[in-house]
Amino acid sequence: MKYTLLAPRPKEQCAELRPVYELPVWYQLPLSYHCDSTIEFLNHISRTIMQDKECRGHSELVALAFWLRASNLVEFVKDSPPGHYKALGTVVHFTPSNVDTMFVYSWACSVLAGNNNVVRVSERGGLVKEHLIRILNQVFALPQFYEFAIRNLFVTYEYQASQGKSITHALCKQADARILWGGDNSVSTIRAIPCPPRCRDISFADRYSFSVIGSEVMVDMEIAEGAMTNLMKELTPYNQQACSSPKVLFWIGDSRSLEKFLSLAGERHFEVLPSLTRRNEQLVTAQSLQIEYAASRVHMVGELCAIEMTKVNDKMLSLHSGNQVLFCQCVASLDEIAPFISPKVQTLSFAGIAKPALVKFMAKPSITGVDRAVPLGEALSFSPVWDGYELFSQLSRRVVIR
């Protein structure tokens, strides 16, 4: 069975020749739940990213490094008494190709829980992924992290090919938990593959996210500009392709105030040279929406393309291809948004709305979606509670000692 070992790079043992299910990772006892050496290991990855010139150029990697700092991780760990939680064993991760760093977060949570990990990395993916693998190898090579190097494995293979399928089957057969990132179909396909009876599945399937901004932000220009900065912060990473990247903006206010707000995007300076293809992609999306859904107006300001619709629905989202495009709808109140919120909605990021009003709105039985409501600008900040899962409890075994 042909696969490529991305990290740790094989040294003395010629791992490439052994089937993936015979690799040492499967024979190691897991480590302790939330131990100091794990935090040290992850913190070292953080430092290595920050010290790497090429990595620092990618906002996704900087955000990841920031998240992996010991001071951040300690916050997650502080409330777990030793002995009451144990690692599950070996967790197999199937990672997405659309967001190069997303899977590192769930992997890090699994490492923190003490598990051994086999991570199937997508064959596709760009520069960010390459940098990441390079960094992981640097850290795995250090003698003080040997225990982690033998317990973690990053592999890639052609999973559509029949050989690849048998590798996937072999991985599932021994998994104590599977973390599945991807579209609905791919997640279901993998979930149908046999696994041990007590294996846990944590599925991050198709989700989408939106922002709600109240026109109140326009009362103060400084607040308005801050809101625009935070909005762009959510639209830029991963080319707006992450599940938590907002694709829709509900504007509580009228079309005129929305236009004023959007114009703020034009005053921003390009931080890096914008993509040559983006504007044309935006045009294709905007014109497709005009054709199919009679979009009422298209605003192209700065790097942003905002398409105003009388009514946004989730069917339209199939036309969204990232590239800093927002489907906008003006509403009079939060209640008007309710019909849009299906269980597929993951994150709601907000600005210009009073939190009590939002909490009241979310409490309604008719609201069946939204796993996270966060202040605008934080949609992409990963938290160990993700997609409605508490990752640490999902990735560990709770022991009752009376």
Binding site: F94, P96, S97, N98, S122, R124, Y159, Q160, K165, T168, H169, C172, L180, W181, G182, G183, D184, N185, S186, V187, T189, I190, A192, I193, A205, D206, R207, N239, Q241, C243, P274, S275, L276, T277, R278, R279, N280, E281, L283, V284, Q287, S288, Q290, I291, A294, A295, S296, R297, M300, S321, G322
Partner: protein
């Protein structure tokens, strides 16, 4: 046909068509073109709901070509855009659609199709003369036998107007049909002839194939017309000058004209002149837009190519933003004497990779 907007358009087109095809200096050209474009705008507004949606909120007429609305050319891959009733669609042109991509679909009625031929004849005659020439086609005869009209077949059929007794230079497997080529040369060596093919095919299956076979032709009386884009040749690091040099060396042809044109705007082609520049005829216009802002670029600045054609009435594609990059080099003052803008094509926008949640992992 009885549609009043169509009648207005036809009248405006006919008067534009009276002009010399490369004879209009800038201001006169604009004065002759704008009534046609405004008529097309109003015609499609009345006859295509899609066009009406795309131009929602825009005025009924415009003063200059750059004010006119434009469609992203990719829309033709996703939608059947039509401004005529289904029963008037006379043929559907399909662009070659490289590899897995869906091909573009262009719906033609008889009138649009006839104008395409008329325009092509008028433009090409400016380079080839009025006489129909013996024609060697660098392709295999099977390409035109296919029932669905591919852009390649349409291109060959279009150019066949200028030839008589066309001879195909390639066999079905794209190998050289040496017998046919030799016979063609023997028969027509004394007078002018026309050689036509797609740029890549001319290079790969004619010039290179002859080179590999260590053969040389001396078609000194021939004019080579070729089109279809440089993408595959750029990958092989062949540019226009080196293409011409090899054509001269291997085929003995000195008169070589490339032309640029869209399957979505057949007829109004932009032909390379004797000085190596592509020229906009009076029946069409070219604009360059900034890829980041879509604002009009200044002369000499490179950007996305927008093409405007006076021809299409059966589908709303008279003004298209292409995914090609180009640069306008001058207007009305090319040394070849032709009026209008002259320009060069610099390549295509890089392919954007679509990556979303839903196409992530595929089968386990």
């Amino acid at each position: 046909m009885t549609n009043p907007t169509n009648l207005t358009y036809c009248a405006e087109f006919d008067s534009l068509f009276q002009h010399q095809v490369f004879g209009l200096p800038a201001l006169e050209k604009r004065a002759a073109l704008m009534p046609v474009f405004n008529a097309l705008h109003q015609h499609h507004l009345a006859c295509s709901q899609t066009y009406a949606r795309l131009t929602h909120g825009q005025p009924l007429s415009f003063r200059t070509p750059d004010e006119l609305p434009y469609l992203a050319v990719r829309l033709f891959k996703h939608y059947s855009l039509s401004s005529v009733p289904d029963n008037e669609v006379f043929r559907v042109l399909q662009s070659s659609g490289t590899t897995s991509q869906s091909p573009a679909k262009v719906l033609l009625d008889k009138a649009t199709s006839a104008r395409q031929s008329k325009a092509l004849v008028k433009i090409m005659q400016n380079f080839l003369g009025k006489q129909r020439l013996p024609m060697l086609i660098i392709d295999s005869p099977s390409v035109v036998k296919n029932k669905a009209l591919s852009a390649r077949a349409a291109g060959i059929q279009g150019m066949a107007f200028f030839g008589r007794q066309p001879v195909y230079a390639l066999n079905e497997d794209m190998s050289l049909n040496s017998v046919a080529i030799e016979a063609f040369q023997r028969q027509y060596h004394a007078g002018p002839v026309l050689v036509f093919g797609f740029t890549f095919m001319v290079w790969e299956y004619f010039v290179r194939a002859l080179q590999i076979a260590k053969q040389r032709l001396s078609m000194t009386n021939a004019t080579l017309i070729h089109s279809g884009g440089w993408k595959t040749l750029v990958d092989k690091q062949v540019d226009n000058p080196s293409f011409k040099q090899k054509v001269s060396e291997v085929l003995g042809i000195e008169r070589v004209h490339n032309f640029y044109g869209m399957a979505e705007q057949v007829g109004t082609v932009f032909v390379e002149c004797e000085h190596g520049f592509l020229h906009a005829p009076s029946l069409a216009e070219i604009l360059i837009r900034c890829p980041y802002t879509l604002k009009l670029q200044k002369m000499g600045q490179s950007g996305l190519v927008q093409v405007l054609s006076s021809i299409p009435s059966s589908y709303p594609g008279y003004s298209l933003l292409t995914e090609d990059l180009g640069r306008i080099l001058g207007e009305d003052d090319c040394l070849c004497g032709r009026k209008g803008k002259y320009f060069e094509i610099l390549g295509r926008l890089p392919k954007t990779e679509l990556r979303g949640c839903s196409d992530t992992m595929g089968a386990g």
